[in-house]
């Protein structure tokens, strides 16, 4: 297919197929660098902190948290929504960008999707731990039991169970199906006997047969077609947790699309945070180019602006509705005791991403890295603002209250961050971080040495 010479190449440096294989497999070979060890020590320590906090919660109960009877939800659900949101970027990149035929996705989809899986795992931990007894988590599944009672299918929290489970399973399958050809490559390039056997087992007997390839493409496409509405549904259902209620600040119809947009926004920020470091550390700058970063920044502007419009819409509608409670909820957000959180959210989500309108900033790696961190922070605070400020001053002024997290809650949050980064560090050693076969398939049309030829 003809590609206009105006388009920037997606893969830098004149590379042939075997060079691509070599470059992408390089981080998996040999001993890990000392930075890798430093990273895994740090994230492992964070995970241990989380393990301590989990132990405290299970042993002593939810009383170790900073919750009270007015504010029954706080960091737990904030972290849950934050992590689920981060997961959305992976599916967005691998499914929605596939449907929109964005070739630049090939360099980032693998790692973004791995990140999705890790983020959902971290997210799922919070509802489970909030039940107080991790081992009784299966209570949320509909199974025949002696009480003859089924789960409440009318509850959005139960919808979450289905949404998150489906999302985790389908993402896992989607990711793994995409990984199969590359695992074949790893198997064939492996030198050790054990390594060959393991990757031989994992590669599902892939030979690259034309029949397999063709069906593999079909199945990837349909999985993308399924994952696209799925990813929308997941954060939609997460937003239903709030929006189906009658709490001012929670019940508003814009929540579903606005949550989805916010999720993609925060997810892209996390992808950027990780990949800006990873491309440098793993020598993949030819594959994840500044052009890729710029494209992701464009997605950040769009989704960030949608989120901004949603904030303003909510604020305006609170006034327009004429409902006093609704109006108070929003004025309290902006000027009440948690105003600092609100303005952190506004600054990080609405204002700083707008800097990406300047090409100089969106192609600058340092600036992008800093803004991506800002977005991560801002989106965490968005959920905190929604959850805590709406709850802490409810209809009954005598039960107004304030919330302060306990060390155990901090531990749980830091712990999931630790688990997330540990898993990511293990991932880059165990699997190719870039989809080798997919990069090869766009190399001719979008590589640096692309030929200006017309072929069928």
């Amino acid at each position: 297919m003809y590609v206009s010479p105006l388009r920037e190449p997606l893969i830098k440096g004149a590379k042939d197929y075997s060079q691509v294989t070599k470059d992408i497999l390089a981080p998996m070979a040999g001993k890990p660098s000392k930075y890798w060890y430093m990273g895994i020590t740090l994230s492992g320590a964070a995970a241990l902190f989380g393990a301590w906090a989990t132990f405290m919660t299970v042993y002593y109960g939810i009383g170790t948290w900073g919750l009270n009877k007015t504010i029954g939800w706080a960091w737990d659900i904030t972290n849950f929504v934050w992590w689920v949101g981060i997961g959305h970027a992976g599916t967005f990149i691998s499914a929605i960008l596939l449907l929109f035929r964005q070739k630049w996705r090939t360099s980032i989809n693998r790692s973004a999707e791995a990140m999705t899986l890790m983020a959902i795992a971290c997210a799922g931990f919070f509802p489970l731990i909030h039940m107080g007894r991790l081992l009784l988590g299966f209570f949320i599944l509909p199974y025949p039991n002696t009480r003859a009672l089924w789960v409440n299918f009318n509850s959005p929290l139960l919808w979450d169970v289905f949404a998150i489970t489906t999302y985790l399973l389908v993402s896992l399958v989607f990711w793994y199906i995409g990984l199969i050809p590359d695992l074949g490559t790893v198997r064939d390039k492996a030198t050790g006997k054990i390594r060959k056997a393991i990757y031989g087992f994992l590669s599902f007997g892939w030979t690259g047969s034309a029949r397999h390839c063709s069906r593999h493409e079909t199945i990837s496409l349909i999985l993308a077609g399924l994952a696209a509405p799925l990813v929308l549904s997941v954060h939609t259902i997460v937003s239903f947790d709030f929006a189906t209620s009658v709490i001012p600040g929670w019940h508003t119809t814009i929540f579903p699309p606005y949550f989805v947009s916010g999720a993609v926004f925060s997810g892209f920020a996390m992808v950027l945070t990780l990949l800006i470091v990873a491309r440098k550390a793993l020598n993949l700058e030819d594959y994840i180019t500044v052009g890729h970063i710029e494209n992701m920044n464009k997605v950040i502007i769009i989704t960030g602006s949608i989120v901004g419009i949603a904030y303003i819409t909510e604020f305006f509608m609170a006034w327009y509705s004429g409902v006093e409670y609704e109006q108070y909820a929003f004025i309290n957000r902006a000027t009440g005791p948690y105003a600092w959180a609100y303005w952190i959210m506004m600054t990080c989500n609405v204002i700083t991403p707008q800097l990406f309108w300047f090409k100089k900033i969106r192609t600058n790696l340092v600036a992008t890295f800093i803004i991506s961190i800002f977005v991560n922070i801002g989106m965490w605070f968005e959920r905190f603002v929604i959850v805590v400020t709406s709850l802490h001053r409810d209809y009954l002024p005598s039960s107004w209250s304030m919330y302060k997290p306990s060390m155990v809650e901090v531990g749980l949050y830091v712990g999931t961050l630790g688990v997330f980064f540990t898993l990511f560090l293990l991932f880059i050693r165990a699997f190719p971080v870039i989809a080798i076969a997919e990069v090869k398939s766009v190399l001719k049309s979008s590589g640096d040495n692309k030929k200006d030829v017309h072929h069928e």
Binding site: T166, I180, F204, G208, S209, A210, P229
Partner: protein, 171 residues
């Protein structure tokens, strides 16, 4: 005993060109192994469009029916409970789970169909003709009948610019 000949190309464009030439000489190419899906190959090999879409649709439809039917059964037959004054058959409430079940069933039925149909799976044995087919080589496989003259085929392949023509036997 089956005999077959393998030969490879280093570039997918040469492969497609060579394939056309080989086909025009009346040699049947059984399969092509490549490091990534080559577009136009399915047409060149005369493959049909995959019917996986139908599996996905059927799976999705079944999932949706199970999802909706189960919820309806629970709240109208098995254990009707009043939640917030909603009707027992609260259709809007059942949509999210129905949708998730549809997607779950569609995805998994399709993936299993794909794996089973292609005989892929954990630990499935792969016949590795050349370790570079997952790297940068595009390999042709031509099946040869026992009584067929392999020389003519090899010549055709050679003329079509294929490298590394080798005759192999499979037990």
């Amino acid at each position: 005993m089956n005999k077959y000949i393998t030969a490879y190309y280093n570039d997918e464009e040469d492969l497609l060109k060579g394939l056309k030439q080989i086909k025009s000489k009346g040699v049947e190419v059984a399969d092509v192994l490549s490091p990534f899906p080559v577009h136009g190959l399915d047409k060149a090999l005369g493959m049909k469009r995959s019917r996986l879409t139908r599996v996905a649709f059927t799976g999705g439809a079944i999932g949706a029916m199970i999802g909706f039917g189960f919820q309806a059964w629970v709240f109208t037959q098995a254990y009707p409970l009043n939640f917030g004054g909603k009707p027992f058959l609260a259709v809007p409430s059942f949509i999210p789970v129905t949708f998730e079940m549809a997607v779950l069933f569609a995805a998994f039925s399709m993936v299993f169909a794909f794996l089973i149909h292609n005989k892929l799976g954990p630990g499935a044995a792969a016949v590795i003709h050349d370790e570079r087919i997952t790297d940068d080589r595009f390999l042709l496989v031509v099946k040869v009948a026992d009584d067929e003259n392999t020389h003519t085929i090899e010549e055709v392949l050679n003329e079509a610019g294929a490298h590394g023509i080798t005759l192999k036997k499979k037990n």
